[in-house]
């Protein structure tokens, strides 16, 4: 995989030759402005539905492996 990544990077680095001193970046092709909606309350997804795909759960909670260990 290392050799493949090196070859891909080599191909990508050809962009260095392109003169872009006078152009701005394009993040999105559509002229996005902030999209706002009314702040209307609606029913959230039921807890059981939200948890149905959880690999590990504990009652009504997601079970997460140890995040903080002592001394870390």
């Amino acid at each position: 995989m290392q050799a493949q990544l090196a070859r891909i990077l080599e191909a990508i680095e050809t962009l260095r030759d392109v003169d872009t001193s006078h152009v701005g970046p394009t993040a999105s092709v559509i002229q996005l402005e902030n999209v706002m909606r009314e702040d209307v309350a609606s029913a959230p997804m039921p807890r059981e539905v939200t948890l149905a795909n959880a690999p590990l759960r504990d009652g009504e909670f997601l079970r997460v492996p140890t995040v903080l260990e002592e001394g870390r």
Binding site: I8, A11, V23, A52
Partner: protein, 502 residues
């Protein structure tokens, strides 16, 4: 060449047979299911099927057809398939498995058995249109690939030559449509993933303008490039499906509030006086001679039909690949961070969080997905951000400006879809760059966000070749009109794969 069987014909022809009472939605569904039963395990086209649900939907469609509702609902009673990148509702309101609910995997082990609590916008809209969902089609993992060989569930075989790839990443969708297993299928196209497989399987594949179709419920790969669209057996069919799925959706803030025209009404068959550009940079070195010959013949035919052919130049075309392989992996690396082994999907079950991340992602993602996450993370990292990511976005500006300029003088652009026909399974798996070159003619269109279609333009070495028509933003009507006029005149509309037999 004998006429194809009904199961291998177009939506338009099947709908006419439904309207005339010559067949029923249930018969069409059973015909697709019989073809699936015969061929799907060999071609590996489907990852999930719902035959009972499809038959129940067909019964309902037949009742609606009997009430005369088919007149302005062209997809009523038509069986179709969804690429397994669109989520399909598989849970009820209590979190229990819905009977017949289809799992969604995105072709990845990390989502094996994932049951979505909600449907994609595409599924909702096609359900409202009365189309019949048969199942979910195989695809490259997270839509990353050009051959369908990156699926965690095995490669798909091309109905034209079962030792060859069907293209990708919507390879299951293209093979299902080419093989008479569904009248149409939805795919997604980030760098060519609808058009290239359409080209390699002799089907029609339409990538709409970015923002034309809601991406809600489409598992994200590269959010500024992804777009959903149909794979069909005719240009008219593509117009009908686009009409059903296009339009603004408040749940996708990048879907645009532009009115949806009657796309089928644009198919006049007349291209006289239309100015069509032929970019010289798209006839690239390394293009197969048979492909070039088929595409050049198509250009001649368009001239005979009265279009004015104009030589044009898109000088930054050869920068498309490098630009794409910075922007798409960068966006993918961010999008795929959500697969953390905690909330859903595969979990390695390690005791410690960091270990759980690395083991889950290390065993859940395939090599191409890992390659792109690493490339993208690298391109976005401090110290390289300007040199890679910002640079690619600047070149994106140049590529888009060149298209805008050319499309200011011509109404559409004609080009090859893929530089080659379907290649043998395994031929390019060890050389990612060679694989990426498959999309050299399609990915600039995504970078610029424009609509593009691939329409069959003959055979080379017995395998299909595609002609690409690229248009102005939100002008799918002209793209479809040009492709339809070509399809009518060229006489390839009834070409079918060897699987199209009783």
């Amino acid at each position: 060449m004998s006429a194809p069987l009904l199961v291998d014909r177009s939506i338009t022809e099947a709908a006419a047979a439904l309207a005339a009472g010559e067949t029923s939605a249930l018969e069409l569904t059973d015909a697709c299911l019989a073809r699936i039963e015969r061929d799907a395990s060999r071609l590996n086209t489907f990852l999930a099927l719902d035959p009972d649900g499809a038959r129940a939907t067909a019964d309902a469609a037949d009742l609606a057809l009997a009430r005369g509702e088919g007149a302005n609902r062209p997809l009523l009673g038509i069986p179709y398939a969804l690429k397994d990148i669109f989520v399909t509702r598989a849970l009820d309101a209590d979190g229990n498995d819905l009977s017949g609910g289809l799992a969604t995997t995105a072709g990845s082990r990390i989502l094996e058995g994932y049951r979505s609590p909600y449907p994609s916008a595409a599924q909702e809209r096609l359900e409202a249109a009365g189309a019949i969902l048969l199942g979910k089609t195989n695809c490259d993992e997270f839509a990353m690939g050009s051959s369908n060989e990156n699926s965690a569930y095995g490669p798909v075989r091309n109905p034209w030559d079962e030792s060859a790839v069907p293209g990708g990443s919507s390879g299951g969708s293209s093979a299902a449509v080419a093989g008479g297993q569904a009248f149409f299928a939805l795919g997604t196209d980030t760098g060519g993933s609808i058009r290239q497989p359409a080209s390699l399987t002799g089907t029609v594949g339409l990538k709409p303008t970015y923002g034309r179709v809601s991406r809600f419920g489409m598992i994200a790969f590269a959010s500024s490039l992804d777009q959903a669209g149909p794979l069909t057996r005719s240009v008219r069919d593509a117009a009908l499906v686009l009409g059903a799925i296009a339009g603004h959706d408040p749940r996708d803030s990048t879907s645009v509030e532009t009115p949806v025209p009657d796309y089928a009404a644009a198919l006049t068959g007349d291209v006289r006086g239309l100015r069509l550009g032929v970019p010289r940079e798209y006839f690239v070195a390394g293009m197969e001679p048979g492909v070039e010959a088929a595409v050049r013949a198509a250009l001649l035919l368009m001239r005979e039909l009265g279009a004015e052919m104009v030589d044009v130049s898109l000088p930054s075309t050869d920068r498309g690949l490098a630009t794409y392989y910075i922007i798409a992996p960068a966006e993918a690396s961010a999008n795929l961070a959500r697969f953390d082994g905690v909330r859903y999907g595969l979990s390695a079950g390690a005791d410690e969080l960091w270990e759980n991340y690395t083991h889950t992602r290390g065993s859940g993602f395939g090599p191409e997905v890992k390659r792109r996450i690493m490339l993208g993370t690298y391109a976005l990292s401090a110290g390289y951000y300007d040199a890679y990511y910002v640079k690619a976005q600047q070149v994106r500006t140049l590529i888009k400006a060149e298209f805008d300029e050319v499309l200011g003088t011509v109404e559409a652009i004609l080009a090859p879809t893929s530089p080659n026909v379907a290649f043998p399974i395994g031929a390019k798996v060890d050389d990612p760059l060679a694989m990426y070159l498959n999309d050299a003619c399609t990915l600039p269109v995504n970078i610029a966000g424009l609509p593009g279609i691939s329409v069959p333009c003959g055979l080379s070495e017995g395998k299909p070749v595609g002609l690409q028509v690229i248009g102005r933003a939100f002008d799918e009507s002209t793209v479809l009109r040009v492709a339809d006029a070509y399809e009518r005149a060229a006489g390839f509309a009834d070409l079918r794969a060897p699987t199209a037999r009783a």
